[in-house]
Amino acid sequence: MKRSKAAVVGAAETTQLGVIPMSQVQLHADAALNAIRDAGLTVSDIDGIATAGETPESLAHYLGITPTWIDATGVGGCSFLMHVRHATAAIEAGLCRTVLITHGESGRSGIAAAGFPVPIRGSLLQQFETPYGTTGPATMFTVPVLRYLKKHGLGEDALAEVAVVQREWAAKNPRATFKNPISVDDVMNSRMISYPFRLLMCCLVTDGGGALIVTSADRAKDFSRPVYIVGTGESVETPMVSQMEDFTTSRAFRVSGREAFKSAGITHADVNHLMIYDAFAHLPLYGLEDLGFCKPGEAAAFIRERNTAPGGKLPMNTNGGGLSYMHSGMYGMYALQESVRQVRGIAAAQVPDVNISVAHGVGGMFAASSTIVFSKNAS
């Protein structure tokens, strides 16, 4: 493993998840203040801000911060993973010392929230996808999957099994929205949303937020539970799901994952814990394959054989994921938070001896991706 340049020294979610009587910017602030407190710092220590959903200037003003570095990368749910990557580079370049990354989203209540973006009139997306009845992620993110299932000779139950295993993890997490056990039959009998996707194969919708504090690896030694950032990756492909070059694999996933593993100098066998953004049940299948944990078409069997379940060799989405834990719209921050908790050893469903955790995110409908490798050790 290569030497780490930066570390997460503070991490927290909003005090509540679910239905929260707060505006979106207050969700950011609630999470930010929790994370700053977790790091043992004060707001005046922050000199860098990275955020999406709200602007850096709204955060700076609301929290009373005067930053010397900002990042407003906003490519959907994996933006916060990219913020970790960019913050690492900025700290190494000396542009700032202590970065606050915030997410907050009033996904359920919609209080002072932008909501799902409406395509720009005349954009290629608006001209060549919107006229055909797309209504948001459930009818867009889902479009490639029949081709994937056909290519690999899989049935819809491959999607159901993802949801079942993640509910097992959620059952161990008191903060999870849905904790009751479910069976493949329960998933297959749930209401059809967008064939082949049924209700229990789709993420839930909640309010919530999370924040991270990132500083240099050298300085991180002075903090109580640093989680080192050892590898990062990012890429984008297309805003139009119909124009992905291959419906059975995500180019952005592959490029981001490859960069993250290469920059970390680790192999797949080194990974003790994995988070793969699961807005819908097919994403962990694509993620496991595109990150190289499984060969093409083998992720469904890998999950069915309980490799990612409690007690398995590659525990995945251990908070319950977007399918059962929470999903405010841009879920990436919660994947990061669970990776940090697992490396710190304080997760609700703690995996024994997590040295390396990988968090993998998606933005838009396979439009963007970012991957972060965390470790307990700096090198």
Binding site: Q126, P131, Y132, G133, R147, M192, F197, M240, F247
Partner: protein, 136 residues
């Protein structure tokens, strides 16, 4: 499928030829004369080699069903459940569309089934390229 109120495309200078084509019953694609790459959606240069030496041509209108979902959520302009499909044109590019003259069921919509374009006039300016089973 009720078409009165579905969202309609807003053409731009770069896509005007495409929407003029569908108005005239033609599915117009673009091809690079430098590297022969046929592409969609429209742009005045080749997305593969960046050459501006490109030509517009009329595609065959033949395609096959590449992937789809069937949305069960009622929205204006559509009668749920309705399929949102991606077809692969004979010339190579893929495009999102709807499948008409066909039951909107997994049984009727089988991947790789042959399709042909069916132009659906929405108003004086916009005609959408929908697809139907070949020979129907």
């Amino acid at each position: 499928m009720k078409d009165q109120t579905r969202p309609l495309p807003v053409p731009t200078p770069e896509t005007a030829h495409f929407w003029e084509g569908t108005r005239h019953g033609e599915l117009r694609l673009q091809r690079c004369t430098h590297c022969a790459h046929a592409y969609f959606p429209p742009r005045p240069f080749c997305p593969k080699c960046s050459s501006a030496e490109i030509e517009t041509f009329v595609a065959s209108g033949r395609a096959s069903l590449y992937s789809y979902v069937i949305s069960h959520r009622p929205i204006p302009g559509f009668e749920a459940p309705y399929a949102i499909a991606v077809v692969e044109l004979k010339e190579g590019p893929r495009m999102m569309t709807n499948i008409v003259d066909c039951a909107q069921t997994p049984e009727a919509l089988s991947l790789d089934m042959p399709l042909e374009v069916a132009f659906a006039k929405q108003n004086e300016e916009i005609t959408l390229p929908l697809f139907k089973p070949l020979g129907v």
